[in-house]
Amino acid sequence: MKFEVSQTNHYDYSLPVKQSINQFKLKPIDEGKQRCLSYTATIDPPSETFIHRDYWGNAVETFYLWEEHDFLTIDTNSIVEITPLEGIDEFTLSEEQKMAFQTFDFRQEYAEFLTGTDYTHLPDEILHEATDELWQNSRDPYEFVKMLNAYLYEKLSYRSGATTVKTTAQEVFEKREGVCQDYTHLMLALCRYRGIPARYVSGYIYIGENSALRGDAATHAWVEVKMPGWPWIGIDPTNNIIVKDQHIKVAVGRDYRDIVPLKGVYIGGDQTLAVSVSVKKSEES
């Protein structure tokens, strides 16, 4: 499936601002089953951007606006092609694969994605309450992940505005509501507790005609888990689905902090941000 994605971030300032430095991670990933065929970023007032790759492999762009300005717009446009990963709806892990989870080498290789973070830290009681039954009733970790996906989908209510970008997994579990970022953090915490490497993915979701899918017109977030012998597999707890070819990946990391799409520091007045996103099926496919 091929998509045309465009995103506009527009800041208005209450007073003119200056000496502004900004960083964004908006370029879709070009790796594995996802190909980024084209990508442009346009900044107004015009500014040059400097690109580097972060530790997680994401493209990071930095730009500077020294002179006074009273608005800022960042426009990105890209074309992305995705081939779905075969055979991920149903598969069973072999005994050897199951054993691999506990091996020293496996745990070392994915150490970053097995650890707790400020966002994902949960007290023991919650970890047990949420996973004990599912873990006992699943025949392997992959089945556990799928059951967990369904469990979170049932357990939490999707409500935009219920939480903020700073909300932690524990708060989500206690409030039982949130948005994609919150579903993701909670799922990361529970997978990692059971020794399943899991990472945070930010990106877009193609909703198309299927209005049943959640994820507003803006950006989306979901989980990827690592099964021995498999590439990273996307799991979307907000929609209780396994990711195929409707999720466009932009950045990966341990939690939200690693993938913050846009941030900046400046001198001047307060800001208001308006974001608009459009994901369309590409005509030419």
């Binding site: 430095i21 040059e48 500077y64 020294w66 070392q108 520091v265």
Partner: protein
């Protein structure tokens, strides 16, 4: 035999330290030796060879004279404002570091061993830092467990893949040494972030020269005076684009920081500008300082601000001490930041355990200066041992410094031990344990007599074209008798540290020392 010894014998053939005089009774009779190694007096209650002239001089000073000079030295520190700030209940109090005038004297042979060992360690630690922020070969080769490094709170993925000038991440290291019961030097701790205390090394020497000049008469001590030109050269060498005449600044959190004196002293003596975060701006990936005549480009920043506070764009957003965009300028290679960002991953208390392995891995050599045995509580077996022997061990939290978050088993109450037991069980990976080592001791002045007080030694090593070891260091002394805590925030003081000249140069410098 060393020359200083011969000289004494020649000058005072009839003086004998082996016969007890009245004064000696007063000053040294109560001097108690315990199981630890005393650096001045041996087991037979005789001064060690290189300490003999010092011992002799000490006996000649009258208690009144000592008292007078002691007060003068203290007043000198206060008047010059050589203080550090202690924070209690959010209220800062300026204090001088207590100073004890009996110096630690290091014979040159002993010093050469230390130098070699510390340069070896310095190089391995530097290679380790470059490796973990690039290819992580040492982790791939499983010499060090990967999770210990990548999940270390001081591992900053923000600076991964950044090529720092000359691949040197460490500009200044402060390595803390102790001597075990046999007198063998061991590394207690590496400080690769912002080791402080260099200014005290100089001030201790100035005060000694001023207040106790005659103690220098029998020794030729390596001078500290030319060290700042070396330090400046080392900073320049680490400038970006091999700029031969870089603008260098020292970035301080400001006048309320506890080590502010250190910052201002180093800036002044190395002839570099002392700046705060608010004096700097980053524009199009270059750093500038705000002067009364506009912006001026900065090439090298010797920073004394912790990593987390350096750049609100990349680290703590609430930091008002730092400079937004600094990491981007660093990444672009337009500014050098000394010490490098993320060095904390190499001086972590658990990573310390693996430094000997780093030396073997990167240099193919055996460590010349040993570690203190360390038990990692993250390891199940080692943890079990630690929990069983809490009353014998020293337990340290891996993320604390300055002697805080530490349990000294043999001196702790049952309650304290139980508190640590609980903490270790909750967060095992945050603790390490070491056998209680009786630090070596030196005489310290106690008003009417000398007492054996425990000491350690912080040695400073500088990078640059070739790593150099600063000749001397900060000898810290636990002035409370029997105490093993030497940190200044916990009642520790300082002593001057003398590294003796090579014998060859000894002769040439002879004329000078007589009026030193």
């Amino acid at each position: 035999m060393a020359k200083y010894y011969n000289k004494i014998i020649e000058q005072k053939p009839s003086t004998s330290g082996f016969v007890k005089t009245e004064e000696e009774k007063v000053l040294f009779d109560l001097y108690k030796l315990n199981s630890s190694y005393d650096e001045m007096i041996d087991k037979n209650k005789q001064p060690r060879t290189h300490c003999y002239p010092m011992y002799d001089r000490l006996l000649k000073m009258s208690p009144e004279e000592m008292e007078k000079r002691h007060a003068f030295a203290h007043g000198d520190f206060l008047r010059q404002g050589i203080t550090f700030t202690v924070y209690n209940d959010n209220k800062g109090t300026e204090r001088t570091m207590p100073f004890d005038f009996v110096p630690k004297v290091i014979p040159q042979k002993e010093w050469h061993q230390i130098e070699k060992g510390l340069i070896q360690r310095f190089e391995a630690l530097n290679m380790f830092l470059d490796d973990v922020y690039h290819d992580q070969k040492i982790l791939k080769d499983k010499v060090i467990p990967r999770d210990l490094i990548v999940n270390c709170p001081h591992f900053f993925h923000q600076v991964a893949h950044i090529d720092v000038p000359a691949r040197q991440h460490i500009f200044m290291a402060g390595i803390d040494l102790i001597r075990d019961e046999k007198g063998e030097y061991r590394v207690l701790e590496d400080n690769l972030r912002n080791p402080s205390g260099l200014s005290y090394v100089f001030q201790n020497r100035y005060v000694m020269r001023k207040v106790y000049p005659e103690l220098f008469y029998d020794y030729s001590v390596q001078s500290l005076e030319n060290q700042f030109s070396k330090i400046h050269a080392s900073m320049s060498y680490l400038a970006p684009h091999q700029n031969p005449d870089p603008t260098i600044v020292l970035l301080t959190p400001g006048v309320f920081n506890s080590a502010y004196y250190d910052h201002s002293f180093i800036a002044q003596r190395s002839g570099i500008e002392l700046v705060e975060g608010r004096d700097l701006v980053v524009q199009n990936r270059s750093v500038y300082m705000k002067t009364s005549r506009g912006l001026k480009k900065v090439d090298v920043i010797y920073r004394r601000i912790d990593d987390e506070f350096l750049d609100p764009l990349e680290f703590r957003e609430d930091s008002l001490l730092g400079v937004p965009g600094l990491v981007d300028a660093y990444r672009a290679g337009n500014v050098s930041i000394l010490n490098g960002i993320g060095n904390g991953v190499a001086d972590d208390k658990a990573v310390y355990h693996y430094v000997p392995d780093m030396i073997r891995y990167y240099l193919g050599e055996e460590p010349l200066v040993k570690n203190v045995d360390t038990y990692l509580c993250r390891d199940e077996e080692q943890r079990a041992y630690v929990l069983e022997h809490l009353d014998e061990l020293v337990v340290k939290a891996t993320n604390a410094s300055g002697g805080y978050g530490m349990l000294i088993g043999p001196h702790a109450t049952g309650e304290e031990i139980e508190k640590f037991r609980e903490q270790i069980q909750i967060n095992p990976s945050e603790y390490i344990a070491q056998p209680t080592i009786n630090l070596s001791s030196l005489p310290a002045y106690k008003g009417d007599r000398f007492a054996a007080c425990h000491v350690d030694l912080r040695v400073f090593i500088f990078g640059g074209e070739t790593p150099t070891v600063f000749p001397g260091g900060l000898t810290r002394v636990a002035l409370k008798e029997g105490s093993l805590v030497v940190n200044s925030s916990q009642g520790g003081g300082a002593k001057d540290t003398w590294v003796l000249q090579d014998e060859e140069v000894d002769h040439q410098e002879e004329g000078e020392q007589s009026h030193a």
